[in-house]
Structure formats: C-alpha cells, structure tokens
Subunit: 187 residues, 4 copies
DNA sequence: AACTAATCGAGACGGTACGTCCGGTCTTGCA
DNA sequence: TGCAAGACCGGACGTACCGTCTCGATTAGTT
C-alpha cells in the first residue's frame, strides 16, 4: 500500500479551482494555475481527476447534494422551492463560470456527458418526479406528466435568463413556479 | 483603396468552419484546419475575424436572417412557428456544435458577448415583441407581457432539451407553443 | 510601350532601404517598411528587384563605383589607398548593416552569390591586380603574386576588425598597408 | 528541485541542429524541424535557448574547446597550428553554415554579440597571446604586439577566403603562418 | 482625340516560421 | 506509495514577413 492520500490536498484543489473559476472564468482556468494556488503539484491533481474537465466538474457541480425538496403542501410551493434551488446553484460564482464551459466540453466526451447528466439533470429530475408524485397524491394533478418536458420548462428558463440573456434571475423562482404550476393544472 | 477583399474567401472560411464544426465539434476546431480546408492563408482569416471565437460566431450564428414571424392568425400559431425557428437554428449541425462553446467563451469577452446577444437574443426578442403586439391587437392579450420572461419561457426549454438533456426537440414546438400561449392567455 | 518607370521611385526605394538598414539593421528590415517609408507600393519594389536581398544589394553595395586606384608612386602608397577605400565602403552605415546579412543569405542562392562576388570581390581584385602590375613595372616586385591571397590579406583583416571584433578600423589602412607591402617585398 | 533536465535532450537538440545546418544552411533552418528531428517538443528547446540564434550558436560554435596551442618550438610553427585550428573550425559543415548567419544576426542583439565575442574571438585571442608570449620569451620578438591587430591578420584572411571568395582554404595555414610570422619578426 | 499598354499606391492573397501557452505524462528526491 | 517541483511531448494560438496578385487611377506613346 504505502502512503495514503492527503485529504487536505483534495480540498485545496477544489477550493483553488473554485476561486480561479470565480476570478477568471472557465476559459482562463489552467491546471498549472490551480496547482500553484493550491501549493501542490500537478500530479496530485491528475491522480484524482482524469482531466481538467472532471476537476472543474468536481469543484463546481457539487455533486448532487440537492436535498429532496421539502413538502410545502402545494404544487406551487414545491415548484417554487425547486426552481429556487436551481437558481441558487446556477448563480454561485464558480458554477456560473463552469457550467457553460462544461456543457461545451462534454459534447466531445460521452463519458463526461453521462457523468454530468447524472449529477445535474438526473438529480433535478428525481426531485421533480418526487414533487409531481406528491401533487398526484394530493389530487392536484390527474397523472404525472412527462418529466423531461417539465424539467425543460423549469430549468430552461433559468438557463436562458442567466446564460443567454445574461441577466439576474431575481424573482424568477416565484414567477416561473406560478407559470409552470398553472400550465400543469389549469390547462 | 487597394485590392478589395475577395468575397469567395469570406464564404470559403465560413463554409469550412461550418463543415469542421459539424465533423469535429467546437473543441476539435482549429484555425489551421479551417485555413487548410478553405485553401487560404491564416492571415486571410485573421484579417476578417479577430479571434477564433468571432470566426465561429460568424459561421454558426448566421446573423439574424431570422425573418419576421409570419402572421398565422393566432397567438398559438405565431408562437409555434417562432419556437420551431429557434429549434431549427439550434439543431443545425454547425450551430449545435458551436453555441455551447460560444456561450462559454463569451463570458470572458464582453465585446463578443454583446455581439452574440445582438445577433441571437435581440433578434429573437424582436420577433417575439412583434408577435405579442399582434396578439394584443387581436384582443388575445390585454397588454404585452415582459419580453425577457416570455423569451426565457420560449428559448429556455429548447436549450434545456438540446444541451442539458441532450435529447431531440422533435415535437417540442407544438407542445411548448401550447403551454406558453396558455400561460399568457389563460392564467 | 506603356508608361515608363518613374526614376524617382527607383531612388526612393534605395534611399528608404539605406535609411532603414542604418536604423534597424538587416534583420529588422522588411519590404513593407521600405514601401511605407518610400511611400510607394510593394509591387514597385518587386518590379525592380526580384528579392529583398537584391534590393538590399542594390542599395548598400553601390555597385562597383570603386574607381581604379590612383597611382601614388609606390606599392605602399597604392595599397594604403586601396585598403582605405575598402574600409570606407564597409563602414558606411547601410553597408555595415547589410554586408553580413548578404554574406549569410547568398549561401542559399548561387545566383545572388555570383552577383555579390562580381560587384564586390572581383572589383577589389581588379584594382589590386592593376596596383600589383604597377609595382612589377616599377621593379618593386619581381612578379605579380597570387591575387586571391593578397586580396584575402588586404580585405580579411578589415572584415575581422569590423565584423568579428566589432571595433573601429581607424588607422587600420596605414598599418595594414605597411604590413602587406612588407610581406610582398621583404619576404 | 523538480525533475532535472535530461542531458540526452540537450545533445539531441544540438545534434539535430548541426545536421540540419549542414543539410539546409542557416536560412533553411527551422525550429520546428529541429524539434521534429530530435523527436522532442519545441518547449524543450526554448527552455534551453531563448532564441533560434542562441540555439544555433550553442550548436555550431562549440564553445571554445579550442585547446591552448601546443608549443612547437617556434613562432612560425605555433602560428601555423593556430591558423589551422581556425580553418578547421570554420570549415566544419555546421559552423560554415552558421557563422555568417550569426554574424549578421548578432548585430541586432548586443547580448548575443557579447556571447559570440567571448566564445569565438576572445578564445582565439587568448591562444594568440599565449603564443606571442612564448615568442617573446624565446627572443623571437622584442615585445608582444597588439593582439587585436595580429588576430585580424590571422583570422581575417581565413574569413575572406571562405566567406568572401567562397574558396577552399587548403594550404592557407602554411602560407598565412609564414606571412604573419615574417611580418612580426622581419619587419 | 481615342486607344493601348505599362506604371503607380494600396492592400489582400497563400504560405511558412516564429515564440508562447496548455494539457496530460513522467521523473526527480524527500517523507 | 504520496508528494512538490518541474521537465517532457504534442499541438494550437495569433503575429509577422515574403513574394504574388488584383484593384482603380495615371501617364506615356501609338493610331
């Protein structure tokens, strides 16, 4: 066996990556810079992360600690909370810088694409399915709708606001929650 | 004065760029490869496009030839057509490869960000405003709603489906048109 | 027929070349810079000079207007005058910058090498032969020695002083004249 | 600390440079070609040599391993040996190709000029001073003459023969040794 | 006086090399 | 075996220069 890995090194890498992402964006991020700021060697990074993308992924898409959405008692409330969670995630400085870059890079790497999908999309859809199930149980919805479509309706506008329009998503959660809940029930 | 630029060179650059984007994606795109395929010198590229990003932008975001959306007679019809136009644009091979990369790179360049916003977002929003104005005139809507929000509702789910979920947007236009029209009128 | 060449353009090219050679050396000389300073187009240069090297050659090795060396009445005097002429040529700002560069470039071009040899070496050797013939006629020398060797003895130390040692050749003509004259007669 | 430089890489660079100089001359020498032939990356070259010129210098002006000239017992013998050493150096394929190019390029770079002077001129002059000192000790010379001048007399004709006249320096050492020795003692 | 043909300044063209920068791998010596 | 330091290969970047070419506008000599 030999010497065990130093967990302080793990953390130093992720912290340095987040800092540099916030300061210089995804394009300006270099592995050498991460190593220098973390005061470690490059080998220590590549021992943990196979590529730069995986390192960024690990640092910025804090894997899936999205908690199961609390039961607020109504579909509207539940949706609003979930949208707000997505907004919060997407507007953290590191994630805001990393996500578009990752979205671009994963198109060349099915392996990373799957990883990203699992940690990001699948988690959100799981929460969504849970929430929709509750609405069905409550009688707010006759049957659970297509999760992919609802996810697109919920996550899409957040992305469009932040990454396309480059605007702040303040107040978006409430408005979007109302619209989606209305679309699911009313129509 | 002096020798005028050769418009066949302009076109050769854009065509080569589109071809290589479709074949190898954004990450695999090389300025040297574009020059070689277009059978031109790199200088001819950099004389027209300050950076690789601007070249890709010019090639893939075929600036704004989005026509004013035809009047189909109803808000639902108009919206469906507009969504379909966005879907078509976003699923063309070159654009599909280029847009996520550009979205990532523009975060480091306000200049390119503004360019992208103008050619992409502003154009779509103009069409949208036109279309909403017609609905107001028809009496389908009491007053024109927030264009940013409607744009996010319209473009966001397309992006989420294609780039986040990595799924085909077949049939999305109809479903999304119905949902957004319903949200605007019904609720 | 057609429009005749403008001789002011000829001169402007050579003047600009000499100026830029004096200011920036051979390595820093560009054809574009010559055109700009001369306020002419590049085509006007290439209509007159096939390559940059030939342009420099024409500008800095003012072809062969080395006059036949005057008869000073003695081998020593004649040699001193000839050495001084070489020194003067080699220390003019443009020539000083151009000659090493040309010497380097002609090694890849037999055509230019021959041109340079004719305009530079052959001219000096002709003067030398003339001068040695007079010395034989005077009885100072029994027979005319190997011109190549004497030329190397005369021109070589000038080159070594200026280009190898990078020193001023002040006073070199007298000392070198004496040494070579001594070597030819005494030994 | 860190990984030490690989001395095989050093040698591979210099060997490749010498080979390419001999084959294609100074003008045809490319840093990429050196890297390819040496089977190394360009970075490994630029880590060692700041510019292409310095690389060529290191490869072709094999720094100064000119040994102190052996004592042949006479000024004539010593001079002949020293001239022959200069001839040998200057006619090695790599050096013959490199020296004129370097002589041209150093005129734009005082730093490289100083380097070249030290490795080439100073070394030859040191050998010369040694040799002249011995002649004084032997009583062949009354006092040691100006080293710059003697150096110009010794190295200059070699350069003139090889680079100006573009002739082979065969037999030059004996003839030049005799002439210079004669000039120093006889006159 | 009109036509012809070569010139002019300006600057775009293809090609090639430069020196820099990064990603991912490998190699030191120390702990 | 892990670690910091840093060298290694490969390959793209954006710049610069060469020699050629194409514009529209002159400027002679020829009809």
């Amino acid at each position: 066996m030999g010497r065990p890995r130093d967990s302080r090194v793990d953390e130093a890498i992720l912290t340095a990556t987040r800092g540099l992402l916030a300061e210089g964006g995804y394009a300006g991020l270099t592995v050498d810079a991460v190593a220098e700021r973390a005061r470690i060697g490059k080998a220590a990074i590549y021992r943990r992360h196979a590529t730069k993308q995986e390192m960024v992924f690990a640092a910025a898409v804090h894997s899936a600690d999205l908690p199961p959405p609390p039961d607020t008692g109504s579909l509207l409330g539940d949706l609003t909370v979930l949208v707000q969670e997505i907004v919060d995630h997407v507007t953290s400085p590191a994630a805001a810088a990393a996500i578009p870059g990752l979205l671009a890079d994963i198109r060349s790497s099915p392996e990373l694409a799957a990883r990203f999908h699992n940690a990001f999309v699948t988690v959100q859809q799981a929460g969504l399915a849970e929430l929709l199930g509750r609405a069905v149980a409550r009688g707010e919805l006759p049957s659970s709708p297509d999760v992919d479509l609802v996810h697109a309706l919920v996550a899409g506008p957040v992305f469009a606001t932040v990454y396309l329009q480059n605007r702040s998503p303040d107040g978006l959660a409430e408005r979007l929650g109302r619209i989606v809940a209305g679309a699911l029930t009313g129509a």
